[in-house]
Symmetry: C2
Subunit: 379 residues, 2 copies
């Protein structure tokens, strides 16, 4: 089905910004690049744009393929395309790689024009607020004054929420999926384990591993294995692997069980493809995000000036971004008498469910996107 | 309260076994030591002995102190002592360090008499079944033909269960607390992350770090941090740390939140005190244990010859050894028409609850131990 409605071959573009961006930390990025892709056509009054915000390890490559032989379509290709729930016959969809990433936007592995060397450890820590500000600059660049919708899952959902707070006039709908108004201590703990694994890897060289021709692969492997386990549910792992033995028990520390084989494979693949400095920055952005912090922890007050309509959606088996956390957002919106739809989807796959092609989940998104009527200047 | 009923100063003893122990793997330990402590007095007919089996990082030092100035009593001191739920005025309690450990029983850091060097990587992988066999040898050594009870939490509970299977005549009561008849794929996944962190640490030297005067501290730190998070519940971590900021946000990778400070402290402490080769072996023992494996996964058949009476106890917020897993044991015992009491204790602390002084939990244990009547040769 995905094949029939595929967007086909897409080509990333890069926008260069010579304007300085002042970050939440006080640091300044004097200039930066954002790599992005677009799907569908921007209509005449530029009212049909939808921004997709990515999560921890996502990229600008959200849908379609990079060549006709490409075996790996974009990470949300099951959702976005002609006739798909987010229909590119109707909407103009934008995906970008966030600042600090490692897929083409300015980040720690990019060359710092001032020194001619990779930024490495000198690349600043970028927050969800900073991402949203940089996305607003991209919107200006593309001529989009107001998004029909900003959509994201997990860390991407935090960006959709932040859009509604920072730019209430520029967003008609926020779709906040498998997300949370901030991380719990448990989630921050998992992030800290991942970061410590990376940062104590001797090949990390305090973040300047590029100039040592090194990669902190050990740390990246541990971070990825841990991520994989916690983004799945206990039940999903039970179904996928159970206690299946790989060949036969050898009483060794080699692979004995299939789950170990899977985790090692995923770990190796990730360590070869993701930048460690980007990873630790993405987890920090997650840790820091907490829009209620400036309002004595009162999320209702933090959302007082929001104008967007919301779809908040959670998955029953997601224990890292549980339905309870989504309901906190719903409650704060209702306290402010905002328009919000909430769906709790029964799904076995844990946090990863937001990336999967679940019929009920996709039906909700299709229905929600179908009802968005940008032709009337709604909102 | 603990202080008033303390056992006081205790001194570990070591039993040396010259008999060879054939392990489940087929490897043979030609001779070995077991370090143990005892609390209370063995009665004349040697019917009041209770064996305590430890979990992943436990030791033989279960109760009392090693000197009057000792600030750290044994790990289950809140449970065991004169007048405590497991009353040493009535019972003779034995704690030991399991084979493969690092606190005095033969393990990877022990000197191999055949070579004069630490065993290191050559120390075999020891299973739950092997531990129980070695514990039976210790029981023989102490003149205990039948235990009034074998008690354990977590991995210790697996040993209590295994005692009932391997030595049905030698155990009157099995107390299986916060345990499981085997690990889920999720639990095996967490173990694999911990092992990979240790084994890919360059200071691990394939397990022979002793001769390099090295310690794989980085890996041990990661293993411990991960353990700490998963042995607590999300709620317990929320209560203990929440999102509290340590000093003020610095936008850095240093400690920003209290939860990070706590995890790093625990990590450092553990890396200085626990042997990496022991740790990876303990996790493997957890992975392998699965008494139903030889019975096509049918736990009821695996427990067909059990004679002990059981107390199975779980904690509501324990997500690594959930109440559902305890109920599998209860069901298999009931299928076999065995005597089993089951308690599900409402507790916020997750898996760690089994070590804590919870009033309801301890009342159940007190009541259960009070009812054990070894004077009649019960069982």
């Amino acid at each position: 089905m995905s094949e029939i409605n595929s967007i086909g071959v897409v080509t990333p573009k890069t926008a260069h910004f010579n304007e300085a961006l002042t970050l939440k930390s006080g640091d300044i990025l004097p200039e930066f690049d954002l790599i992005y892709e677009t799907y569908g056509e921007l209509n005449a009054d530029k009212s049909n744009a939808v921004l997709i915000c990515h999560a921890l390890s996502g990229t600008h490559h959200v849908a379609g393929k990079h060549s006709s032989e490409d075996k790996h379509p974009g990470w949300w290709d099951n959702l976005i395309g002609p006739g798909k729930p987010l229909d590119t016959n109707k909407f103009f969809v934008i995906g970008l790689n966030n600042l600090g990433g490692c897929h083409g936007s300015s980040g720690p592995s990019s060359i710092n024009q001032a020194t001619g060397k990779p930024y490495g450890a000198t690349f600043p820590i970028v927050t969800v607020e900073d991402w949203v500000n940089s996305q607003a600059m991209l919107a200006d660049y593309l001529g989009v004054k107001q998004f029909a919708a900003v959509v994201g899952g997990s860390l991407g959902g935090m960006q959709a929420l932040q859009w509604s707070i920072a730019y209430p006039e520029r967003i008609q709908h926020a779709l906040v999926i498998a997300s949370s108004p901030n991380l719990t201590a448990q989630n921050m703990g998992f992030n800290e384990v991942a970061r410590q694994a990376i940062m104590t890897d001797p090949e990390f060289y305090d973040g300047n591993y590029y100039e040592h021709n090194a990669i902190p692969r050990r740390g990246l492997r541990i971070a990825r294995m841990l991520g994989h386990i916690t983004y799945l549910s206990d039940d999903a792992m039970g179904e996928k692997f159970g206690r299946r033995i790989k060949d036969q028990i050898k009483y060794s520390f080699d692979v004995e069980f299939e789950v170990e084989s899977y985790l090692r494979y995923q770990a190796d693949k990730f360590a070869d493809s993701f930048d460690a400095n980007s990873y630790i920055r993405m987890t920090r952005a997650l840790d820091y995000y907490d829009p209620a912090l400036d309002f004595d922890g009162d999320l209702t007050k933090a959302l007082a000036h929001v104008k967007a309509k919301f779809l908040v959606l959670s998955f029953t088996s997601d224990w890292r971004f549980s339905p309870e956390r989504s309901k906190e957002i719903v409650k704060a919106l209702l306290d402010n008498e905002r328009t919000v739809s909430y769906a709790e989807v029964t799904a076995a796959h844990g946090h990863d469910a937001f990336l999967m092609e679940d019929a009920h989940y996709h039906a909700i998104l299709r229905s929600y996107f179908n009802k968005i009527d940008f032709s009337k200047g709604e909102g």
